[in-house]
Every structure is written in C-alpha cells, then in structure tokens.
Symmetry: none
C-alpha cells in the first residue's frame, strides 16, 4: 500500500484542535563558525517553552542536499512526497492570485521581457517594471483571442510577472519553457514534450505572437517568456486524506494557492498579529486544523539581513503566543525550508521542528528551540512529509495499522 | 533489486549464535513531562550493560505517526516491510494455534457474540465466556458441513475467540468483516471485495447461518462474528532469506504464528524464566538464531499500570541475564512497538533497540538502555525492518555488496 493510502485508511476522527504554524525559512546558519543561528540568537520564550515541553527534531524538506521552493516545501509539510506529487509553477502562480482553476486548465508563468530588434533577449525581466505597469500590460494580454474554442486568461502576479491559463480544450500540460535563461539569444520555442501537448504548444506560439504585437509600443516590456507549464489536477484533499477540517491563514498569494490545492478553506490575512489571530479565531468556528503562514522570516533571510531575520523570528514567536490564547490541543512549528541570512537564499539545511501536545517523548536536552538543540530532540531526523502524520498522531487522529 | 532480494543475495554462513529478544511494547512515555519512562525507571542491569557495551538506537515500527499491531510489528522485526507484506488476522490466528495452513487456505477470526431476538448484537464478546466453554462451542462449529468440496475447519483460540479455515476450493481471501464494531445493530454481511472472493462470501454466509443454528441453545454465545479474512501464502522463509537456522520461543499463540509464517521452528514456552531458558537451550542444539518473545510488558502497558510495567521490564531483564548464560555471540533487544502505560495502547513512538556483539560503534552517552539515552545511540533513528540486517551484520552473516 502506498504511503498516502495507508494514512488515509488510518484516519480517525477526534475533537482535537491543531495549530500548524509555518514560519517560512526559519532555519538558519551562524554568522561565524560555532556561533548562534538566527533562531538561536532570537528571544523566543514561546517557541522555547513548547520545545521543552514537547518533542523536537530536524526535518529534511525533500532529499538531503537539495533546497526547495515554496511549492514543494509546503506540499511536503502537507504530507506529500514532492518528488512524486509535482505541481507546476504556472499552476501555483494561478492559484496564488486566487484564480479559480478547473481540472484540465493549463497554466504557465509569464515574465515580461525585453527583446532587441534582432529578436534576442536583452533583459529577462523587462527592467523589472513595476506592478502598476505590469498589471496594465497583463490586462492587454487578457484581451488576446486565440480564435478557437480555447480561451486564454491572463492575470497579473507582481511587478514583471503574470500568468496565463489556457481553458477549454483537450490540452496536455507538458510544454518546454521559452525562457532561454540567458541574454543575447532569442526566446526558445514552446516545444511539446508529448502528443497531448502539441495543441498546447501551437496555442502558446500564437499567444506569444499576439502578445508581442500587443506590447509593440513598449520599450522595456515588449515581449514575454513562458515557463512552468502544467495542467491543473486537484490533489487529494486534506480533509479526505486525514479526516480534518482544514483552514489556512496566509497573507501571500503563493501560500493561499498551495492551501487551496489541498482543499483548505483560505482566510486572507494581513501581515499583523491581530489579523492572524482574528482570522484564526474565525477559522476555528468551522475548522479544527489551522495552517498559519508567517512570511517575513524568509524575506529577511533572502535579504541577507541576519538581525532583521532575528527580529522577525521574535515577532513570529509573539504571534504564536497570541494564537495559543485561542486554545489548541496540538501545536506544530517548523518552516518549509531554511533561509540562512548568510546564504541569502533557500538552503538545503534541515529545518527545526517542534510538536507540542499530549504523549510527547522527552528531548535529549532542554535547551529551547534551535538548530543545535533539535539535534538531540525526541523526533530525531525526519523528512518534512512525516511531520503531519506525527502531528495528527499526537492529536489522536491516526488509527492502528494491523492487528 | 528489491530490498529482500539484496539481503538474500548477500547472506553468508557463519558459526555465530544470535539471540533476538523481543520485549513486547517495551517503549513508553514519562508519567509527567520531562520524567522517566517505564524502561528508564526500571532497574535493568543487563539491558544497561549490553546497551553501554553495544550500540543503541530508536526504531520506527512502520511509518512515522502510526501505531502497529503485533502482526506487522513482528514482520518488520523479521526484515519485511509491513506495508508491502501484509498478513490477515485470520491467518495469524490459525498459525498461532498451531494449525497447519496450506497455500490457498482462507482463514478468518471468529468472535462468539450475543444477538438479541431482533438479531442485533448486544455483546461483541458473548459476555467474555471462558476458554472451557469457548473450546466446546468451537468443536460444535468444527462439525459444520458446507455440503460441497470446501471443508471448514474450526479451532478454538482463547476465551470467546476462535478461527475458521476454508479449504479445498479456488477461493479468494478478500471478504469484509461481519463485526459491526458496535452494539444495537445486526452483524454485517460478509461482502466480497473482488470476484475471486465471491464464492468465499457465499460459504461464509452459509457457515454463519449454520453456526447460529448450532449455538441456538446458548444464552450468551448464540452467534458468531467473522473478521480478518485472508488467504494463506507462505512468506519467504527466514532460513532462505538470511541463511540462519531460526527458532522461536514464545508463550502466546500470536507470536508462534508469525514465527511459523517465516519458517521458524517453534518451541511453546510457558511464561517463566526457567521455561524460556530450557527451551532456548533446546533450540540451540539445532538452531543458531533464537527469537525469544516476552509478552507481559505489553499487557501491563495496555492495562495502564506504569508500576506493573516497570516490574515486568525488570523481569524481562532478569530473564535475559539467564538466557545469556547459554552463550550468544550477538544479542538484540527491542520491542515490536511502544505501549506507554499513560497511553494504554500500542503507540507510534519509536522503540528503543540495542545490538550487542563484536564491532559495535560507541553511543553518544553511556546512560544504559532508555528512550532518551537511545536518542544519541550509535544506531541513530532507524526503521524496525532494518534491525535484523544490522544484527546479522554483527554476527558476520552479511556479505559485501559489489566489488
């Protein structure tokens, strides 16, 4: 029996309330060898108390040595193996802007770009045009008519980024990126990887041509590059797999998108403690599993700003203290990946994780929540996809396997 | 190459003698956060010495967050992946009473139960009738004649439990339980899950009807419930897979059954140190791998009696000291799962494991045998199915892979 079928077959109803708190990019590195990480340097009384009363560990997002993006990082935290369950960037982008994808839709990411008179790419991000212009240009592309049964729907994402959805045909979703990942060369053709995707490639070619025409008056954003084609197929829902009533409280489109993909009810939070607490409280009226996403830790890590990341971790800790007043039986805290400020990017390092609730084993040291303390935590080394089943077990929601 | 084929291809003969000591449900939890578990509270000089001289670790029975039954728990300790190698409760029950199952036999568990005049279940265990009456009633059912080529053979297990084997046809083993898992409702129909199992369901229906007639004079045990249908297919034998001559010393039918399933010679022990030692000594005359099962630790955990479980762990430790006098080269100690007294049931928590013999790595701390000490053990976090190959390696019985 495969892993998810096993967990589905063992799902057991319970009254317990679960807080699944994802502090994006929480894992880090010391500034100097042997020093403290961002999490260790931060003053985090609530994380520390839950770590000492609960069980901690270190989670590898997907496989050792590999940094993950937000999509696979969250799929793992939702119990999926992201090497088996893949979701294209186009689909994530469309879900992230709240677009109501339907099964069979094919989505792709759009980057506005600059081509020279020879048709070579001179800027893959069109001089990083702002969101106002990007939105206006995306609206132009939304007017494109491909002249057949297939609609193309364009939505702006942010700055020079947008997404397109092809809807209405029997389309495959396996088409190569047109982004050449270099300048001084022309965009690539949208080549189909299988027979089903040949009509998609034809439509994409036509769409690109019409886009160039519609953008001809622009100096910077005079063309587009497409990447991350994928067909939308909803994943098994969280409720169906695990028997919980799941909600998501998130301030950023990407995380709302990945939550929608697994059937969570989504509450659009603002990036404040009050908004998070209010919406989590509202979610608890009809849900018993609340995924709360905290973004700014990751952003400060990507900025390379160690001190600002420490500050955000402290805010995330205070935010958790406020959330706990709502009353939860089981609390999980981790990140979808590490984002060390010294590395300025998502990294492959295992992510600190704590599970607090009934029936916790004792950690080897009671040194709060930090990368080094987690090394001797009672959860040991685990894979991120195992965090959810462990959390559900503490909540009394996983039955026994076999007699 | 699959995992078991790999190990089979590497099996290497040796003269070493191995004691594989399974202390059922040995893993536990502290009574209060940060406190000692049953194993840590127990005075266990022999476990502690072997742990400090050997290597320890923590084993996950099947997958994180999932508690296992005794069947899959032991299959994992015998090197199988229990999500791939599944054995129904009926087959285990029949093997457990020493019934000589043949390939193609279909077995199911029987519970005697009480039905009211409307045919609703009022007691799923027939008032827990004693073994004497249970045995007499099982004999009555053994006389049932289904009137075709298929025999049904009934054997008593214990108290209100028995098992039935259907033999002689081309039968499938995939039939739903008739136990409704509730009172005040009638038993379920034995529905077939596939075409092959349709004749089995017809036979089961006829068997249930005849059983009701045969039990009509009983006030309590006036009907039966069937569960755990499965067809018997022998597993690859232990001897064939690993090149050892295996024996089992166990006092309870279930553990004898799972040992027979993998081709062990079974010695029926009583639940005393003397019986265990005598039979292990006898086993060693013609065998070099002895699986000894210690049951009462699990029972006291399920009772929720922390102190009584501590006492049983101490007895298991003394039992091991006596067994060691027989002379072994390699000793393994673990459980098939954890059964914390505070949880009163099999739990998902990893199980302490120790391997003692030549070539042991040193643990991080020399703090004896306990859940927290095992966190920094030299074996690390492992899966229960990996314990056997590690044990065999220390016994010089696993060859090199590749040149």
């Amino acid at each position: 029996m495969d892993r998810l079928s096993l967990y589905r077959s063992l799902a057991r109803p319970a009254e317990s309330r679960i807080l699944y708190y994802v502090v994006d990019g929480i894992g880090g590195l010391p500034r100097t060898p042997g020093g403290q990480t961002e999490l260790e340097a931060a003053n985090t009384p609530t994380f520390d108390r839950l770590a000492n009363e609960g069980s901690t560990g270190l989670a590898t997002p997907v496989v050792p040595g590999v940094a993950v993006g937000s999509g696979p990082g969250h799929l793992a935290l939702f119990g999926f193996d992201p090497t088996e369950t893949t979701v294209g960037r186009g689909v994530l982008a469309a879900l992230g802007v709240g677009f109501d994808l339907r099964p069979g839709d094919v989505a792709a990411r759009i980057n506005f770009c600059t081509l020279d008179t020879d048709g070579n790419v001179t800027d893959r991000r069109a001089g990083r045009i702002g969101s106002e212009l990007g939105a206006a240009l995306a609206e132009r592309l939304d007017d494109i008519d491909l002249g057949g049964p297939v609609d193309c729907i364009v939505r702006h994402v942010k700055e020079y980024r947008a997404c397109v959805v092809f809807r209405g045909g029997e389309l495959g979703g396996s088409v190569a990126d047109t982004d050449p990942q270099a300048t001084g060369v022309p965009p690539l053709e949208p080549c189909p990887h299988d027979e089903m995707s040949e009509p998609t490639a034809v439509l994409a070619t036509e769409f690109i041509a019409q886009a160039s025409a519609a953008l001809a008056d622009q100096e910077q954003a005079n063309a587009i590059l497409l990447r991350g084609f994928d067909i939308f197929a909803p994943l098994p829902s969280f409720a169906d797999l695990y028997g919980v009533k799941p909600a998501a409280v998130a301030a950023y489109p990407m995380y709302r998108g990945v939550a929608r993909l697994v059937g969570m009810s989504v509450f659009d939070a603002e990036d404040t403690i009050d908004s998070r607490v209010d919406l989590t409280g509202a979610a608890l009226e009809h849900h018993d599993f609340v995924f709360v996403h905290y973004k700014a830790t990751d952003s400060r890590g990507e900025d390379g700003d160690f001190d600002a990341k420490v500050e955000q971790i402290e805010l995330a800790d205070r935010s958790l203290a406020a959330l706990l007043e709502l009353g939860f039986d089981v609390v999980m805290v981790t990140g979808d990946h590490s984002t060390p400020a010294t590395y300025r990017a998502h990294s492959w390092h295992p992510v600190p994780v704590l599970v607090w609730g009934p029936h916790c084993r004792v950690n080897g040291v009671a040194a709060g929540f930090g990368e080094t303390a987690c090394l001797s935590g009672a959860l040991g080394s685990l894979r991120s996809m195992d965090i959810l089943p462990l959390t559900l077990a503490h909540a009394g929601r996983v039955g026994k396997f076999g007699a």
